[in-house]
Structure formats: structure tokens, C-alpha cells
Amino acid sequence: MEDLAVSFIEIGLSEAAFLLVVGFVGGLVSGFIGSGGAFVLTPAMMSLGVPGIVAVASNICHKFPKALVGAIKRARYGQVDLKLGLVMGVSAEAGVLYGAHIQESIKRSFGDAGSNLYVSAAFILVLGIVGGYVLRDAWRIYRSGRMDAIEKAGRLARRVQSVRIPGTMVYFKSLDAKISVLFTIPLGFATGMLAATIAVGGFIGVPGLIYVLGAPAVMASATELVIAFVMGLGGTIKFAWSGLVDIRLAMIILAGSLFGVQLGAIGTTYVKPFTIKVVMGVIMVVILLSRAIIVPVYMAQLGILQPLDETVAAVLSKASFVVMVIALVVGASIILYALWHGRRAHLAQHEMLEEPVATD
């Protein structure tokens, strides 16, 4: 074990407990919105002294079994479109490989600071545009008071569904329509690229499934778990092929995250579809803030801004991580509250009707 000590840390009780808790919260969010729980895990592992590349590899190795368990659970509720998930998963895999290639090129040309700036810029651009749109849509539904209304495909999705390209039309149950499979390719590819860049492809995948293809939010978030499984399995094989996975770290995180992913999946059966949009939008916008805080540090490292005082840089880095944790905690709190509230209403209704309480 002596030679391993350089790259692989000793795991004590406090490290294990920390990863279990972060894993649980991350799993809860992933089980509910389909992804979005993993972005805190890589920095969390690195804060324990795990080298960056081992943290990324171990994170992805816990993601694919978590996504598998979450997808199976949600398939039991009839929420998963397996065909769409697999079709998009294949193009997402290509996106992951291309995204990783871009990352490597940037790192070679501009070093760690350039790579970090690129990741932060991707965070800010995607989360700002997509997160803002998702949150605005959730707010619009809330303001209209039609939170219980059946979701309908939006204007863009209706246009996509109306395009007929012979030889490429496939029926997907989540859309209840035939669409050209060609539309799923750029969407899956972008999901994979984002996953390789910021570790959460679902921030494009889920809104894409809802707003571009026309899937209901509940089915979009469930189907994203299939895409995450395909991407995670491919990513794990890639990193494990180079011997970079610390299986102990991955399994500790998995221990906590499987409790969370089950609870998150259960939560989706009690809430209004609009709650999924709220959780996703809030998490995305708060993370956007977290990345915006750290951007001046990377810009100073690249010489684009005046050099920052070391203390200022350290405070900004810490503040960015704390805000990222807050994003996850706020998302998890909304999910737990919505689950508790929905379950109470459900039990009260069944007490009145004297019917069996649950079917799972």
C-alpha cells in the first residue's frame, strides 16, 4: 500500500461520515430532478485531500449505480421513457468524450486557471440562460395558479414534434408522439458535453427534454437518470481503464446517496410537476452565484485582472464552495418539505376515503 498512499487517502470515520451525508443530500436531489446532486462531491472529496482526477473518477463511479437504482425505482412509478433515455444516452456518451477532449486541450494551452475559467464560464452561461428560463417558467405557472394543470408541450416542442423527416421518426411514450430521432442527437450531445465540463449534464438534459422535445417534467427528470446511467458507465470504464477510481470513496458516497435517491424518487410521486421545475431552477441559479464569486480569482490567475490579495482569493474560493453547498441544501429542503406536505395531504385524503394508503 505504500505506493498507493500518494494518490489514495486514508479514510477515517469523520471522512466517511462527511461523504455519507453529502452523498445522501446529493442522492436526494438526483432522485428528484434526475441529476444535479454530484457537483458538490468532487470539491468535497478534494477538500479531504483526494487528487482532482481521482475525485472526478470516483464521483462518476458512484453516479452510474445511483442513476441505475433511481431509474429502476422511478420506472416502477411509470415515469421512465427507457427508449428515449437510451437513444439520448448514446449521443450523450459522444458528448462526454468530446467535452473531455476540449477540457484537456484548454488545460494544455492555458493551464489549471484557464481550465477553471472555462468550467466557470460554462456554468454561468448554461445556468444563467437555462436556469433562469426554468425558474421563470415555474414562476409563471405559480402566478397563473394552474399548478395542478396537466402539462402540455410548449411552442418549441410542438414545432419539433411537427417536423417529419422520413426514416428518422420514432415514437416515444414520454412525448406521446413521433419525433425525428435527429432532434435527440444534439440534445444528448450537449448533455454529455456539459456533464464532462461541470459534472451535471442534467442541467441541459432535463430542460431540453421538457422544452425542446415536450416531455412532462416528471418523465423528463426520470428519463435523465437513464441518460446519466449510460454516461456514468462509459465514464467509469474510461477512468477505471486508467486505474483512477478509488472504489472505497465511490462506495461510501453510494451508501449515503442510495438512501437519498430512493427518497427523492418517492418524493416525485407526491408533488406537483411544477415543484421539479422550482427545485431545478433554484439550484441552478444559486450555483450560478457560486461560480460568479470565483471567476475573479481565475481571471486574476490568468492575468486578465490585477492580481488579487491572497486572503481575498482564499475568501472568495471558500465563499464559492459554501454557496454551492447552500444550493444543494436549499434544493434538498424544498424536496423534503414538498414530500412531507404531499404525503400529509395524501394520508388525510385516504383517511377520508378509507382506501389503502400506498401502492409501492
Binding site: 414520454s174 481503464w241 410521486t269
Partner: protein, 79 residues
């Protein structure tokens, strides 16, 4: 739906198996890590371990929440 007693037994059985898997993983962490980081075709080791844990621990966590009475409602995807 199985009886409450069966559910408790199932949760306990998967819980004990899951605990055993974690015990083995950390009892032999040096040997397991040594094999799993050799890379190339031995990628199958971490992938296989992850799949085995997801099956056993996944079944335990599902039964755990069920025993506590926290269950989902089948709602068919809301369309």
C-alpha cells in the same frame, strides 16, 4: 404488497448483506484497491463492485423506507 413482517425481514436480510459487503471492502481495502487501480481490462473490478453494491444496498434502502412507511404512489407519469 407483502406483509409488514416479511418487509421487515427483507430489509434486515438486505441490510446485513450490505453491511457484510462494506465490511469485506474495508477489511481487504489494500488488496481490492491494488487490483482495481491496475487499470485496463481490470476496469471490470470497480464496475462489478459498483453493480453488486447497487443491487444489494439499493434493495436495502428501498426496503428501509418501505418499513418506515415512506412509500411512493404510482401515478403514471402525469400526462
Amino acid at each position: 404488497m407483502s406483509s409488514p413482517r416479511t418487509e421487515v425481514w427483507k430489509a434486515a436480510a438486505f441490510g446485513v448483506t450490505s453491511f457484510l459487503l462494506y465490511f469485506i471492502l474495508f477489511e481487504f481495502e489494500g488488496e481490492i484497491l491494488d487490483v482495481s487501480i491496475r487499470g485496463r481490462w481490470l476496469f471490470i473490478v470497480p464496475v462489478g463492485i459498483a453493480l453488486a453494491f447497487s443491487f444489494v444496498h439499493g434493495a436495502f434502502t428501498a426496503n428501509f423506507w418501505r418499513v418506515l412507511g415512506i412509500r411512493g404512489i404510482k401515478n403514471g407519469g402525469d400526462r
